[in-house]
Amino acid sequence: MFLARLTKRVGIAATTLFGVGVIVFVLLRVAPGDPIAMMIAPGATPADIAALRAHYGLDESIPVQFALWLKGILAGDFGTSISIRRDVLDLLAERLPATLELATAALLVAILIGGGVAIVGTMLRRTRGESVVDAANGLLLAIPDFVWALALVLVLGVFYPVLPLSGRVNPQSADDFATRFYLVESIVTLRFDKFLEVASHLVMPTLALALPLAAVITRVLKQALAETMVQDYVLLARLKGMSELRLILQEALRNAVGPTLALTGVQFTFLIGGTVIVERIFSYPGVGNMAIDAVINRDLPLIQGLVLAFGLMFIVINILVDLAVVALNPRLRHG
């Protein structure tokens, strides 16, 4: 059953990615604006320009270009970036770890904050405290990552300049790492000075991405907890003399976590979409920041590679969440 579900999901995912590829490919080619025009030297002759177009395969018809591109991807060749003049796959491999670390950190922080607030709010049931938590969370739900990022820049970067405003590490220490996963590497190699350096750069972009998701998690989890807390088995546990916190953690949470998990998955893809602008604001060297430059420079191969990378991330997350929901809920497991 599990396997059948997985196969079906992967099949749907493949068609979705294909659709994404077609749309982006065609959109980019019917659009006005010539990527070659942006890279030619002032004295180039028409023959030079034609040679460049041929070099990037832009002289073929759109269906032929698409077929060539698809063939390349299936062979692991995503083409060459026009503006940076490097292999697209290399660029993705270089930038993706930064974005993955940022997104994962943001997800964990969001779960911690959102889950924590939901539990505290549940313990404060039917008190003034609960309405304060609800009202505050209602306001937080409205604030998007873009606004959070800039507010954090102002408060923690300018008014109380305690955190670095841009980048991933200090400029002079970019060569201190063997891999591109700076945070993971600094933990694994036990270099705590480096860990602090990477972490301090991560705090603001992570919070900007995590806080909107935390608010969503709080709302859904708190609602689910409210429904489970009045179930008979919780009442029974309470009669046995279990403390309120243990009731929530041991009895209610396990049954309330399902709907929250499903929603967190969808919201996590929004979070990854948000990395585009948040990375821009903090000059963070991830794929999102690169994507904005690629679009502005009309770098067709790079844009296509990036959109596919984002699409793939979205789809993988959705499949994982779907499987996790099924795995956690016995009633769905044999459906």
Partner: protein
């Protein structure tokens, strides 16, 4: 008959009164109304010309801070343009995009959602597939891509928002239509002999409307943010039209010697998004008969 009319009018009036008794609608709607007036009467309200540059008066701090000049209440940017006046004029682009983009996205999304939810079958399959593909794009990246393709300008920003965000309406309206379709009143309407299309438009649409109205208000807040993001990246309107996002981008550049250039438009953005959200939330609570209970 007359009694029924009186009861109906009374109910309608009570609902109308409820609308303004709700603090969320009152504050959210009030702020938006204020903003509309600000945008409409910008030339009379703004103390200075929002485009007038004076390099002698560059990066002046707001009133009350050392070095402030009288008449420049919120200071100036690095080109000496009055921040308050730019803020007032910036509300024009923000509100235009909010109202037009949200309404159009609602129109497109609701139509497709109604059709998919009501007719099912291959219509639903096509629409749902389309929504799936759309959801696999990161929205910010897609909007930047679209504006880069369509060329900058308010029209492109609006088009980009509609092209991206119709899915929000489509998904919700489709689900809501499916729920309504299984209700008894729909069966009753079919028994009487109404055509499928008539039932959709006359029976189902009015019942989907409350959810839709609340969503439109939320979408207006989203549209304001998207416009600001596109301005921030430098892809929205021409640089001689003041926008909050453009001011924010400029403020981010000079943040260490002119914090106010970023702070005030950010506050406006924050307040506007919050207002649209509260308005939407309040409207949903007041209009939706299920939530009112």
């Amino acid at each position: 008959m007359a009694d029924a009319v009186i009861i109906q009018t009374a109910a309608r009036r009570r609902r109308f009164a409820n609308l303004f008794a709700n603090p969320k609608v009152l504050f959210g709607g009030g702020f938006i109304l204020l903003l509309v007036l600000l945008a409409f009467f910008a030339p009379w309200i703004a103390p200075k010309d929002p485009l007038e540059q004076d390099l002698m008066l560059g990066t002046l701090p707001p009133a009350g801070f050392p070095g402030a000049e009288p008449g420049y209440y919120l200071g100036t940017d690095d080109l000496g343009r009055d921040v308050l006046s730019r803020l007032v004029y910036g509300s024009r682009v923000a509100l235009t995009v909010a109202f037009v983009a949200a309404s159009l996205a609602a129109l497109v999304g609701a139509m497709l959602g109604l059709l998919a939810g009501w007719y099912g079958g291959w219509v639903d399959a096509v629409v749902s597939r389309l929504v799936d593909i759309w959801m696999a794009f990161p929205p910010v990246l897609l909007s930047i891509l679209l504006v880069a393709i369509l060329g900058s300008g308010v029209h492109s920003v609006i088009a980009a928002i509609v092209i991206i965000d119709w899915t929000r309406f489509c998904r919700v309206v489709r689900a809501e239509t499916m729920t309504q379709a299984s209700m008894d009143y729909v069966t009753a309407a079919r028994t009487i002999g109404f055509s499928r299309f008539t039932i959709l438009m006359r029976e189902i649409l009015p019942n989907v409307a409350p959810v839709l109205i609340a969503l439109v208000s939320l979408e207006m807040g989203i549209a304001v943010i998207v416009e600001a993001i596109l301005s921030f990246v430098g892809l929205s309107v021409a640089s001689d039209i003041p926008t909050w996002g453009g001011m924010i981008a400029q403020g981010r550049q000079i943040i260490h010697h002119g914090w106010w250039v970023l702070t005030f438009p950010l506050l406006m953005l924050f307040a506007t998004v919050l207002a649209f959200n509260q308005l939407g939330d309040g409207l949903r609570r007041v209009i939706d008969p299920v939530m009112r209970r």
